[in-house]
Amino acid sequence: MSTTDLLRANLLSPIALSFALGIVARLVRSEFSLPKDIYIGISIFLLWSLGLQGGIELHHSSLRAIAWPAAATVALGCLTPVSAYLVLRRLGRFTAADSAAMAAHYGSVSAVTFIAATTFVKGQGAEAEGFMPTLLTLLESPGIAVALMIGAIQTNTRGRPIHEVLHEVLTGRTMVLLVGGLVVGFLIGDRNWEVIQPFYDTRGAIFRGLLCLFMLEMGVTAGARLGDLRKVGGFLLGFGMLMPLVHGALGVWLGHLAGLSIGGATVLGTMAASASYIAAPPAVRLTLPDANPTYYLTSALVITFPFNLMIGIPVYFQLARWLGGAP
């Protein structure tokens, strides 16, 4: 399949089109939006399913299979905030606080982008390793920690101490459900899993259907911020698309070196390329109050998220296929 075919297949997926409809709904000023509690409920379901399924798969994986991919993930978590910071500070001439704030978002990971990537590679017949959710939990916090530390060193911050804020990141919804799900999934064993699998299966109809609903609301949220694109300027627009390509390529390459399959390397690349917009914003707001939220919210949610969803994922997949020697 050529890159163009992959792009077309991805753009016509229910996930991408749901997201697009959300944006359109907002642009035509429709009153449509998902009630917040339902949106939060769906995100809990998605994360919990992901954790449980990851735990079951973890049960079937050997430590040796996970060790190198885990090391690659932690390396990415420490590297990507530094590269993002340097590009923003040196080339973009942003303040230290703004650069560190955005670096925290690009160093961390977006769980929704992760789900989109796993769904995409599955659809292409190149399913990723089952332990990928474990890597997702590994990548969530180092990036935020590294970037906030850069910020603390480079600025005279009046914000809250980093360790207090990191506690909030580590005990947030994403981490509790993912890590908790991994542990529970690992412990319950196959026979118990069979009973609840029809409900929680991340390959199943319920998961994918709810993901589309979730994407509708993500589109509405992104659409509401489209106007902010004018405020952030051309540099950030380019940064929001080129930085993911660099981080994505690095992630795919490291994933390949660590022995991941084509699907696994694609998902790791996507994780490295994605920018967090759920865990990072409140942590950054409290630790780096000088940083302008319009910059980090707009670049992570309005530029990088749709870019990865629409274009990035198929590109990382093509790269992984090429590295993996697929025809």
Binding site: I40, A224, P282, L286, P293
Partner: protein
């Protein structure tokens, strides 16, 4: 029971500040507080969490000197960087010993 005159301090702030502010209130002498979520618009525009949480309105009834302390503290700590409004109004309460 004769009502006593106290101050009702109302704070409307970004959702991320909820924990920090309620901890401040207790430290500065408030005996209790109420928190609710509110929606609205102000001069600051974007809020770091406005797709996850709304703004919070925190209310506490305190003695006038405590109200002064709270408002001074909020002004010095948060006004520069965060979207936050705070004001005090005079209220008549019964059982005033509950608040002081």
């Amino acid at each position: 029971m004769t009502p006593a005159t106290m101050k009702l301090v109302t704070i409307i702030a970004e959702h991320v500040l909820r924990e920090a502010i309620t901890a401040d209130l207790k430290r500065l002498g408030a005996r209790g507080y109420s928190v609710g979520e509110v929606e609205g618009e102000g001069t600051r525009g974007v809020h770091a969490q406005d797709w996850q949480g709304k703004n919070v309105r925190i209310e506490t009834v305190v003695a006038p000197e405590v109200a002064d302390r709270i408002l001074t503290h909020l002004a010095g700590t948060y006004f520069h960087d965060y979207a936050l409004v705070a004001y005090a109004t005079t209220v008549e309460v019964v059982r005033s010993q509950k608040f002081a």
